[in-house]
Amino acid sequence: MKKIDVACIIDDDPIFVFSAKKIMQLSDFCNSFMVFHNGEDALNNLKAVITAKEQLPDIILLDLNMPIMDGWQFLDEFIQIPCDTEITIYIVSSSIDPADVIRAKTYDRVNNYIVKPITIERLKKVLMEE
């Protein structure tokens, strides 16, 4: 398992954010986090990072159900932004609606669909597959 530098969590649920950070810290998953509470927030900030050529996250854990701009909207906007760095995007959602899973597969940039809750084991397993 390679060591990840920056992980980005886009989720409006503070409990999930807290838990996810904790899990990743425990498993020594990454060095630092970027956290955004909705798609728009994330998009604007990531755009700025790209423009400023600062360090981008290596992976993004993206929730689908969010206020203001949801996960799908974020994806639609984000994949339009030209970016040299490859960012691995995981959709992490509590939705087990098959329609969502199928839709996720239509995005090339989305690596996997993780159904909440995540556990250390599952996280490790997913990353191992990379």
Binding site: D13, S95, P117
Partner: protein, 1030 residues
Amino acid sequence: MNYLRKELYELIKEDESIFDFIQDSALDGMWFWDLENPENEWMNPKFWITLGYDPNDMPHKTASWQNIINKDDLEAAVTQVKAHCENPSIPYNQTVRYKHKSGDTVWIQCRGMAIRNHEGKPIRMLGAHTDISNLKISEINLQRETVRFKHIIEGTNLGTWEWNIQTGETIINRRWAEIIGYTLEELEPTTINTRDKFLHPDDLIKSKQLVRDHLNGKIPFYECELRMKHKSGKWVWIADKGKIVNWTKDGEPRWMTGSHLEITKRKEHEILLTKYKDLLERSNEAAVIGTWEVDLVQNIVEWSKVTKQIHEVPPNYSPEMAQALNFYPEGEHRDTILHVIDEAIEKGINYDVELQIFTFKGHLKWVRAIGISEFENGSCVRLYGLFQDIDERKTTSLEIEKLSLVASKTNNAVIITNAAGYTTWVNESFTRSTGYNLDDMLNKKPGEILQGKDTNPKHVECIRKALNDKLHVSQEILNYKKDGSIIWLHLNITPVFNKVGEVYKYIAIENDITERKNIEKLNQERQTLLETILDSIDVGIVSCDKNGNLTLFNNATRDWHGLPVQSIPSSNLSQYYGLFKPDGVTPLSEEEIPLIKALQTGSVKNEELVIIPEKGIPRTVTVNGSKLIGEEGELFGAVVAMHDITKRKATEEKLRETLAKLEGLLDASAYVSIIGTNASGLITTFNKGAENLLGYSREEMISHKTMESIHLKSEITQRSKDLSDLLGKNIRGFSVFTALPNNGTYDTREWTYVKKDDTHFPVQLTITSIKDNNEIIGYLGVAAEISEIKKAENEIKSLLEVTKDQNLRLKNFAHIVSHNLRSHSGNFAMLLDLYKRENPEAAENEMIKLLGTASTNLKETIAHLNEVVLMNSSLKENMVYLNLKDAIDKAIKNVSALAEDANVNIQNSVDPKINIEGLHAYIDSIILNLLTNGIKYRSPERKSFIKFSSEVNDQNILLKVEDNGLGIDLKKYGTKLFGMYKTFHLNKDARGVGLFITKNQIEAIGGKIEVESTVNKGTTFKINMNYEKN
């Protein structure tokens, strides 16, 4: 009658001065003019006859004479009328020229007087015409004559003289003096000696003697050729003529006048005359002018070469007086020549006439004959003259004359005949309409060619008579064209008179009226057709004139009454013809008889009456009729048509009887509407139930309304469309109810009835036909109100709506479960996991353990709920066929560890060929559930087993899952077995969701689950599922 004529007659009666005025002035025409409506003017027949027109053709309008009045005279007349109207003291009296129909000018003395109302305003004008043409013509002729003489005198260079025998006063003219080279002034004062002084002495004696002879009455006039001395000294020859023109009271001659003609040249050239005579003959020859001479003394006739040529006689022909006249055709021409020769011989009047001769070779040609008589001693001794062939010129000019006559009649056929009736000319239009040209007709009598076998001899006679009497005749006659076809002509034959009042030709103008005649004939035929129709229909037709006298009585009516038509007073009609009211007892009063009623009130509609003839059968008839109005709005009678409805009446009676039998039943059904109609839809029965349901009373409906009146129009229209499509023919109106019953079936369907208060309610209506001897005489419609049923149906519908709504909410719920609940539960699990990792010692804490269990249970419950919800949203089209045995084996494998632990033996004896219809996930879930159930509820008291087996039948397969476990008390729990969250065991794992889900999943794939169970013996689940056939 024209209103003006009426008015005028009234006026004449009232006012004597008007009568006198008319008597005095209105010899040749009278008019009465409406000054308030100046376009209207009444003219009496004489007015038009004077002008040559047929009074019947001329409308009483001012416009009808405006084209034939002289324009200048019209202008003058307008001014004069105006003046007369403004000032009565200025009379209206004027000479006006009109153009006669023949083209001649007619001079009319026109006098008029304005008729004034009490305010003195002229409102009418009465006019009178006197034909003064003859007077006018004489006047003109006199004027012309005077002028002519003056011109002659001047033109002939005559010197004139007047001598008063008593006083010797002598007057001479300028020319008299000029002849002998003097001016008049040089000779003045003139006396009788003025003449004598210039006379040759020899001639003086001779002249004086002749004058004496004349004065003594020996000779009728004085005439002498004498010589007078010219101023230049030479002698000039004078032809001196004179006559006493005036006598004294005593009878003594007073004035003698005479003339001097210088004949010096003649005298000088008399010698040359013989030579010139020869020359003349030659030049005449060149000009085709012949000469002739009759020596009356010796009775010798001489014709020059050219004269002979004109007569087409041989050169050696020697004519005689009597023979010469035979060349002129009998009649007009022969008469004329005889007349003028007579005048020439008797009175010395020379003549110059244009006449026709028949030449020796029989050609008819026009000639000009000039005759001069020569007198010796007061009697004619010689007649001589010229003879010229003018046939070509004459023919041309006659043609022009004829053409001018017919110029305005180009569309009419024209024939001209001579006095004897032989055709001399026809126009193009004649040829166009009859096919005969001039060559066909020339010198033939038109009647002989044109008339044929169907020509009415009366018409021919009428024409012949008029022509004999030399009268204008107007007649319609059937003629034949050259091709033999019939042509109807309207002839107008006018005789044309010559100067001496003899007819010299007839002009016939012919109008082709064949078309009109054909129409007349057609009308006649139509009339016959109509009468035939009237007599052949079984509808009685009777008409009467405006006084109620019968004018028509067709066959049908005659048959019914069995009586001849008689003119009987309308008050007796009822009795005579046996007319009764519908009750068949009360006779109709006069004004109740439909014909009389129609005459008096204008129309009758559907009146019913009974005819009971003396002999024959009584009949009920319905009568329709109306009065008859002429073109001018006047009533001229009435007509009625009667339909025999005796049979229909009988049928209706029968129907009523049939329905009466049902009466009890009908009224018993107080809430079932039973409505009977006759064959045409009119309601005949209306039961209590119908009254209750529809709100109409029986009286309102029976015989007044139809079935359609209680139905919703839109439904009838829709049904009409549906039935028309169904039966392939147009079904409309009442037929929508009867189309199916007519075919022998009854027709039951839902309709909407419309109540009297216009509210609607649904009914189930059955319509059947009522038959009498296989003939449909009516219909019966039985309807039950189905409002309640409808209401229930509507409730079901709304429930369905609610269910749909619920379903939708359920889907939303699925979403909530799927996402929101899951995320919370996920968070719990994550947090607990993290907590345990960070605090490993807490894992032993009882509370944390229980919290862990609660979290896991929550997660599972949500998973179950999700499954339940998803199930309903699954789609039929996702169904596939899958092998049942394989699916069971797979599930057994999955639970093998569990089964081993629990020591349960699982057997699968399902037929490996069976493929069932379903969803993978469901089948897996169903089998797994049943397996785990069987394991969970095994009996600890015996060796447990679970057996899968299958049975196949036609429709589906039966999967049996049998165990020997704890069993379920079905009496206690049977109804709740497959409910949600029902558990029937104290098993700690039981959560009561499994069977609920299983049942639902089985039903979702079209299957069914049943259970048999005995407590402590075991349970068998029987699952029916669809399978793949073949």
